[in-house]
């Protein structure tokens, strides 16, 4: 499992962008990652620039994140549940602010990547890690060729180059270790073809407890699932 206390990624970068295909797990990873950052740094912020999904967004976790001392950048309240592509201007400011570690949760697919493109200048001028999140159990992301095609296309649309891939193969409660290992095999091919490294395999905390460090080939990072339905 990745030890973020010592991992060089937190020394190299101050901004962390999670983008990728629709439903790949960007929001859940962002929500966990920003909390990890908060355990290590005083000034931490998260920006929700998802203009694609109407529900299950980072903004739904605004109150608990703020209670944890994390600065949350979302559209102002009257427009919070609006069907409008709003990016608050302070996002650019925080990406430039050297004092802050910033997580950016991006909307899915080409539309989400295009929105991200509006921030590409800030990302180029300040140390920014751009993670491409992949769940191989999602449609249009099941084969190496499909994933490579998505990576090139979304990278172009966002005008950002991908620092690393985050492997997030899962089927919610029905995830198995075999399934994750198959996902790793697919992403190894993607990584070899694109020369983009795989940063980590994501494990939900409920599964992480049952997995030994050596069961998987990529380093692992654990997330907690925050955005649940009321009956779960």
């Amino acid at each position: 499992m990745i030890d973020f206390n010592t991992h060089p990624i937190l020394k190299t970068y101050k901004n962390f962008i999670f983008f990728g295909m629709f439903g790949s797990g960007k929001t859940e990873i962002s929500l966990s990652f920003v909390r990890t950052l908060k355990t290590l740094f005083e000034l931490v912020a998260i920006a929700d620039i998802d203009t694609v999904s109407p529900f299950f967004r980072s903004r739904d976790e605004k109150a608990p994140l703020e209670a944890a001392g994390i600065r949350v950048m979302v559209p102002p309240f009257p427009f919070l549940h609006g069907d409008l592509p709003i990016i608050v201007p302070e996002v650019g400011g925080f990406l430039q602010n050297e004092a802050y570690r910033v997580v950016v949760d991006v909307g899915g697919d080409d539309d989400g990547a295009t929105v991200l493109g509006s921030l590409s200048r800030f990302a180029k001028e300040h140390p920014t890690a751009v993670f491409f999140v992949v769940n191989t159990k999602r449609p249009f992301s099941e084969t190496p060729n499909a994933i490579i095609h998505n990576m090139y296309r979304l990278s172009q649309k966002s005008r950002m180059s991908i620092t690393a891939i985050i492997h997030n193969t899962h089927l919610q409660a029905e995830t198995t270790l075999d399934m994750i290992a198959q996902g790793e095999a697919i992403l190894r091919e993607v990584s070899e073809a694109t020369k983009v490294p795989v940063f980590a395999t994501v494990l939900q905390d409920s599964l992480a407890r049952a997995v030994s460090d050596h069961a998987l080939s990529f380093p692992t990072m654990t997330i907690h699932r925050y955005l649940k339905t009321s009956w779960e």
Partner: protein, 355 residues
């Protein structure tokens, strides 16, 4: 067994429709349903089907009308205000006895409302919406897997009765993700060919005419009576519902779609507190499962309807119960989804007032 994948409700209904033989899709995007039309736009050209984004819902429904005349499996999807726009065409399609499938991923209303989940289009779906004496077969899923299987059922029912079928899913079901198993694509021989009525070029056969129009009142009444024979058959044969813990229940909840799912947690809370609650979950909203509710009213002390509306299905519940036991209602609107605990508190208030 086919491998499972992780799908949003909207994507799952789209893929399932294609596997159920949907050849043609016309639609217009609207939140919280847009993933469905986007999925169709991406996927249909890949498999040689026809996708067209119309200039409005009004155009889309009339394209559906035209395509349905050929007996081809055809569908559209929309959300509340968009379905309102389609109402004239829906009445024409029903009046002309054409098979077509509609999906309404319901959002908060009335008017422009908001983009959060709701169930306030029950009246619109089951009681008309459009003009004239017509019925839609209306189905409502509670899980994404159920929605997938329902797409096959919907196209079969539409073909069998030559009647439009409406799937009502609330916005939450459209947006949430679950692992699902997708059935294989059906083979073309499973789709009725409709040679006897479809418009595909006259050739040497007798002329086919499709219309909902007749200037002779006697003939128009005959047409209505014939439709009602069909509706009667649908009521006799196509009622679908789920019963949950009803064997020893003292309180019967009635709820459909996502609300039916939330109530299973409420029922657990109620039983832990000593109130034996059960659930009747209508899967077909029309034909409404009147009989199981009527029978339950003979055994239970209370039948409580819970909806994401100000109370629409509760009217059908009250007709079924016919005053035998109290029929309280609990609902939230505006896109607010009641939590299991909140419904449990409402149940406690009603129960304590009763016993």
């Amino acid at each position: 067994m086919a491998e499972k994948i992780l799908l949003k409700g909207n994507e799952a209904m789209a893929e399932a429709a294609l596997r159920a033989g949907c050849q043609v899709y016309f639609g217009y995007p609207i939140t919280p349903q847009s993933e469905l039309i986007e999925y169709m736009a991406k996927r249909m050209p890949e498999i040689g089907r026809t996708f067209l984004q119309a200039e409005s819902e009004v155009a889309a429904v009339n394209m559906i009308y035209g395509a349905a005349c050929t007996g081809t499996r055809v569908m559209t999807s929309t959300s509340s205000p968009g379905f309102s726009l389609m109402m004239e065409g829906v009445s024409y399609i029903a009046g002309a006895n054409l098979p077509a499938v509609f999906i309404n991923v319901v959002r908060g209303g009335p008017g422009l409302g908001d983009i959060q989940p709701a169930q306030s289009d029950y009246f619109q779906g089951t009681k008309g919406g459009g003009h004239g004496d017509y019925r839609l077969i209306v189905l409502s899923p509670a899980t994404i897997q159920e929605a997938v299987n329902m797409m096959f059922d919907a196209f079969d029912l539409a073909d069998r009765y030559r009647n439009p079928v409406l799937i009502i899913a609330d916005g939450l079901l459209g947006q949430m993700m679950e692992p699902v198993e997708l059935p294989d694509f059906i083979t073309p021989d499973r789709i009725p060919n409709h040679e006897g009525w479809a418009l595909r070029g006259k050739g040497s056969r007798e002329q086919h005419t499709i219309t909902s129009f007749d200037l002779d009142p006697v003939k128009l009444e005959e047409m209505n009576l014939k439709n009602y024979e069909t509706y009667q058959k649908i009521q006799e044969n196509e009622v679908r519902y789920e019963e949950y813990l009803m064997d020893d229940a003292e309180v019967a909840f009635v709820a459909y779609g996502t609300m039916g799912r939330i109530l299973k947690t409420t029922i657990r809370l109620a039983r832990e507190a000593g109130i034996k609650a059960g659930l009747i979950r209508p899967i077909s909203l029309w034909p409404f499962p009147e009989k199981p509710i009527r029978e339950a009213a003979e055994k239970v002390k209370m039948v409580m309807s819970v909806e994401m509306s100000m109370g629409q299905m509760v009217e059908d519940v009250r007709l079924a119960v016919s005053g035998k036991v109290p029929t309280p209602f609990y609902g939230r609107t505006g896109g607010i989804v009641p939590t299991p605990t909140e419904v449990f508190e409402a149940l406690k208030r009603e129960w304590e007032a009763l016993v």
